[in-house]
Each structure stands twice: as structure tokens, then as C-alpha cells.
Amino acid sequence: MDGTFLMLIYVFVLAIFVGFELITKVPPTLHTPLMSGSNAISGITIIGALLSAGMEQYTISTILGLVAVIFAMINVVGGFLVTDRMLKMFKKR
């Protein structure tokens, strides 16, 4: 196993710990927006999708990339918008 890969595993493990610390502080009242919002964040796969779809040759890779861009964008745009729609309603009266 080479050094870069080990580094990636480091990042993964540490990020899991950060995730646990952050999420346990989210109150139950916000759990639905948390899910939809974190969902939008997991749409970060869009980075990979863009790289796949932007290759010059039109191969099976670019076509898969195109579908991936569509899927990831639905996830990103839909996720952030619907989360905002919900959070807008959480008001104190």
C-alpha cells in the first residue's frame, strides 16, 4: 500500500470522528433538515461526475459521466433547496 492511499485512509477516519462530534450536537427537532442537507453534501460526487463527463473522447465513460452529472445535480440542487424550504419555517414566536 502506497503513502497516498494511507493518507486517504487517515483523512477518512478523522473525518468520521469529526462527523460524529458535529452530528451529536444537532437537536432532534432539526433531524429531517439534517438528513436532507447532509444528503445534498453527499452530492459532492458531482466532482467525479464532472471529470468523467468532461473527457474529450465520447466513450462509454463520458456517457456514464453524463448520467452521473444529472443524478448528482438532482441530489445537490434538490437537497439544498428542500432543506432551505424546511429551515425557513423554523421560527420562534
Binding site: F5, V11, F12, I16, V18, G19, L22, I23, T24, K25, V26, T29, L30, H31, T32, P33, M35, G37, S38, N39, A40, I41, S42, G43, I44, T45, I46, I47, G48, A49, L50, L51, S52, A53, G54, S61, T62, L64, L66, V67, A68, V69, I70, F71, A72, M73, I74, N75, V77, G78, F80, L81, D84, M86, K88, M89, F90, K91, K92, R93
Partner: protein
């Protein structure tokens, strides 16, 4: 250029972390979501500057279609449909991970290092399960697929076999990365596995399934990060993965079930209700009419409302809000007790009440309000059933024994609004209805509560 891109990814990751941090309070949550969106925008823009991207036509087409579809979905979904929406979004995330991993495989085969090969296989497996599993979950919640526990022959051996096939042939592909057909077969197996794994899960357990699939969609993103050797994908995926696991755990605890038990589709078999008929062996219930009830509310000084999903089904949120307002005008202390599984996903009930303009400060979680029922005049149960069944505390033979419940029966008077005496999701009788301090207020929640509000007004 490379270094600028890498640093931008780091900044984008920081925005994600700050965004989630701001979700720790309803006051800053909206801003937090905006932070996360900014982080995403940075990541997308910077990626477009990457020198590996040579043509933009596919990208533009994809971005336009995806954004338009996402916008339409987000603006049109009703708040009651939020579990389906999140289920579907999970699926698209998992699908995107699968496609990216497959695309990367085609691009670099047969020169794939073993590390990357393993990451590709895991991406295909987790992403594939997330994609089809989420679509089945969506179908169940939307009523397109049966919400019942589906049993099929050889359920467990079949799933185990499929998983073993994916792992075994995955190891082979990692060592022999020229096997295109086998890789496609692995993808196919993962997609089938997603369907088979979610199909047996009953409708009542969907909050767990959705949370777990949420976690998978994050992990799928992380594995794709390993494929592309991209730290930001790994970080963002890990955050979401952790979030999903925590929520899954909370949901399991709230239903007193082990994750294994949910995944194997256990609960429905425990319900021992005779087919077609409902028996009431527990004695008589006391019914109350709106006039009498209005009088009781009028002389009360503290009320806790316990909403269940039945309230949302009857679209009674606004009537409940009107009741809250009129009682508060009379100086009554009104609070809401929200059980973790009151809705169809974590926090769902809170969103439904927020939509009806109920202040989030009046909403209390189970552990924060359960001790207060003792000194409450009226506990008003609207459309909730199993989560207020005292049998969970003492009846060892009950399928819900041990499940944390709201102790509504400790209040001076319990008022239960329900259409009829039919049992709840778990299919069991509720002894609360037969307690001496319980009054049944029968009727459709929306109509019945509006009527009650009018009666209180007339006093």
C-alpha cells in the same frame, strides 16, 4: 493550478463542516445550509477549471437537466412527503457514485492499481445498494410498492450468496482489472441486492431504512473519493456516513429494536391481531364530546399535546395550532411532546408542526418532557398510538415491551383523539384507551379539533 484546486477543495470541505456545525441550533441552521451550498459551489466551479476537463457540452446538458429536476422536486414536494424525497435523493447520490466508479473503471482499465480496484468494487457495491434500495424505500413510502413486510423464499441465503459473489469476484477483479464483464456483473448484483435488502423492511421501519440508506449514500461518496484519490469526497462522504449512522441508532433505540432485527424485517410477525377483526378485551372506554372537552380545557392550566403521524394524515396540524393559540390566550401553558418516531423519518413531526407555524420552542423531545406529565392537567394525544402505550413499560408479552414511550397516562386527564379504536402500526391493542383517567374524543382529527376550538371560543 493543481495546488489552487486542492486548496479550494479544502476550503469547500471547511464550509461543509461549518455548515453542519451551524445546524446545532434552529437560529443558525438556515445559514448553515447556505454555507454548505457555498462549499458545494466552490467545489463545482473549481472542478470545471481542472485541466482534465476538455469538453463542456455533456457537462452543461447534465447540469441543466439535473438542476431543473432537482428544483422541481424540491419546490413541489409536500412536507408530509419529505421521507420519500430524502429517500429518492439518497438514491440519486448512490447512483451517481456507482456511475462515477464504473466510468473510472472504463477509463483506466486494464491499468488499475489494486488499491483503486478495491475502491471501485466497494463503490459499485455500496452505491448500487443505495441506488436501488432507496428507490424501493421511495416506492414503499409513496405507496407504489407494498409497505408490508415482504418475505420471499431463501431470503437470507440468497442475499448472503449475492454479497459473497460481489466480494469474491470483486477480489478477482481487483487482481485482474481487465475483466469488464465481471465488473458489470458485480454492478448488476449490487443493484439486485439493494432491492432484495429493502423489500422485506416493513412500512413502520422505514425511518430506520431511510437513515441507514442516508449513511450508505455518504459512504458511497467516500469510496468514490478513494477511487479518484480526492480528499474532499472522502471528507464529505464520511460526514454524511456518520450522520446517517447516528440517526439510524437513534431510530432503533426509539423503537427498541436492534438494527439486525429491522433489516431482517421482524416486527410485523410479532403483531398477533386476528385477521380482519378487532377485539376489545380490556373493558369499556369513556367517550367525551366537544362541549364537555372544551370545558375541561377551559379550566386547565397546563396541556401537553402529543402528535402522531395520524395527525399529519388528517391534515390537522393547523387545527392543532389554532387550539394552541386559543389556549395560550386563556393563559394555559401548552407544550408539545415529540416522540423520535412520531413521524415517518427522524425529526419529521417537527417539520410538519413548523409548517403549521408552531414555534420550535414549544416542541420537546421525549427525554426533556417525560417527567412533566405528572404535573400536567391534560395530555392530548392526537393520532399517536404505539408511542403512548403503557404496555411498553410493564407488559413483557407485548411486542413493544421496552420501547421508550411518552408517559401520557401520568397526566391528570388523558384525552385521545382517534377515528376509532383500531390499533396502531404495530398492530396491538392500546391499554391507554381503557385507563380510568382516559377520555376518548372520537372523530377525524381536523374536524374534531376545529369543533373543539369553536366550543372553547364560545365559553
Amino acid at each position: 493550478m493543481r495546488i489552487i484546486i486542492e486548496i479550494s477543495y479544502l476550503i469547500s470541505s471547511i464550509f461543509f463542516i461549518l455548515g453542519i456545525k451551524k445546524l446545532s441550533s434552529p437560529k443558525t441552521a438556515r445559514q448553515g445550509n447556505l454555507y454548505a451550498a457555498v462549499g458545494m459551489a466552490i467545489a463545482i466551479i473549481v472542478t470545471l477549471l481542472d485541466q482534465h476537463i476538455l469538453t463542456y457540452e455533456w457537462i452543461i446538458i447534465g447540469v441543466i437537466i439535473g438542476s431543473a429536476a432537482g428544483t422541481i422536486l424540491a419546490l413541489r414536494v409536500p412536507m408530509t412527503g419529505m421521507p420519500q424525497m430524502v429517500g429518492m435523493l439518497n438514491g440519486f447520490g448512490g447512483g451517481a457514485s456507482t456511475l462515477v466508479a464504473l466510468s473510472e473503471f472504463y477509463k483506466i482499465t486494464p491499468n488499475i492499481p489494486v488499491n483503486t480496484g478495491i475502491a471501485i468494487i466497494l463503490s459499485l457495491l455500496i452505491g448500487g445498494i443505495t441506488f436501488t434500495g432507496s428507490m424501493i424505500a421511495f416506492g414503499k413510502l409513496q405507496g407504489l410498492v407494498t409497505g408490508k413486510v415482504v418475505k420471499y423464499p431463501l431470503q437470507h441465503p440468497l442475499n448472503a450468496l449475492l454479497l459473497l459473489f460481489v466480494l469474491g469476484s470483486g477480489a478477482y477483479v481487483a487482481a485482474n482489472p481487465e475483466s469488464v464483464e465481471l465488473t458489470l456483473l458485480i454492478t448488476f448484483a449490487a443493484l439486485i441486492l439493494g432491492i432484495l435488502l429493502v423489500l422485506p423492511i416493513g412500512g413502520a421501519d422505514m425511518p430506520v431504512a431511510i437513515s441507514l440508506l442516508n449513511s450508505y449514500s455518504g459512504l458511497a461518496g467516500s469510496t468514490t473519493g478513494f477511487v479518484l484519490q480526492n480528499n474532499e469526497l472522502i471528507i464529505a462522504g464520511a460526514l454524511v456516513g456518520a450522520s446517517g449512522i447516528i440517526l439510524t441508532n437513534i431510530m432503533c433505540k426509539a423503537m427498541n429494536r436492534s438494527l439486525m432485527n429491522v433489516l431482517l424485517g421482524g416486527w410485523a410477525s410479532a403483531g398477533s391481531l386476528p385477521e380482519g377483526g378487532v377485539v376489545h378485551p380490556m373493558g369499556d372506554v369513556k367517550a367525551v364530546d366537544s362541549e364537555e372537552l372544551a370545558m375541561l380545557f377551559d379550566v386547565s392550566s397546563s396541556v401537553i399535546i402529543v402528535p402522531g403521524y395520524g395527525m399529519a394524515v388528517a391534515q390537522a396540524q393547523h387545527a392543532v395550532r389554532d387550539l394552541t393559540n386559543i389556549l395560550e390566550k386563556k393563559g394555559v401553558n401548552v407544550r408539545f411532546a415529540i416522540h423520535p418516531v412520531a413521524g415517518r423519518m427522524p425529526g419529521h413531526m417537527n417539520v410538519l408542526l413548523a409548517e403549521a407555524n408552531v414555534s420550535y420552542e414549544k416542541l420537546y423531545a421525549l427525554e426533556d418532557i417525560n417527567d412533566d406529565f405528572n404535573n400536567t392537567d391534560i395530555a392530548f394525544v392526537v393520532g399517536a398510538n404505539d408511542v403512548v402505550n403503557p404496555a411498553a413499560r410493564h407488559d413483557k408479552s407485548s411486542p413493544i415491551y421496552g420501547m421508550p414511550i411518552l408517559n401520557v397516562d401520568y397526566a391528570k386527564i388523558v384525552v385521545v383523539n382517534k377515528r376509532s379504536l383500531n390499533p396502531g402500526y404495530a398492530g396491538i391493542e392500546n391499554e391507554l384507551f381503557f385507563k380510568p383517567n382516559t377520555l376518548m374524543y372520537f372523530g377525524d382529527s381536523k374536524e374534531a379539533i376545529s369543533k373543539l376550538v369553536n366550543e372553547i371560543k364560545n365559553i
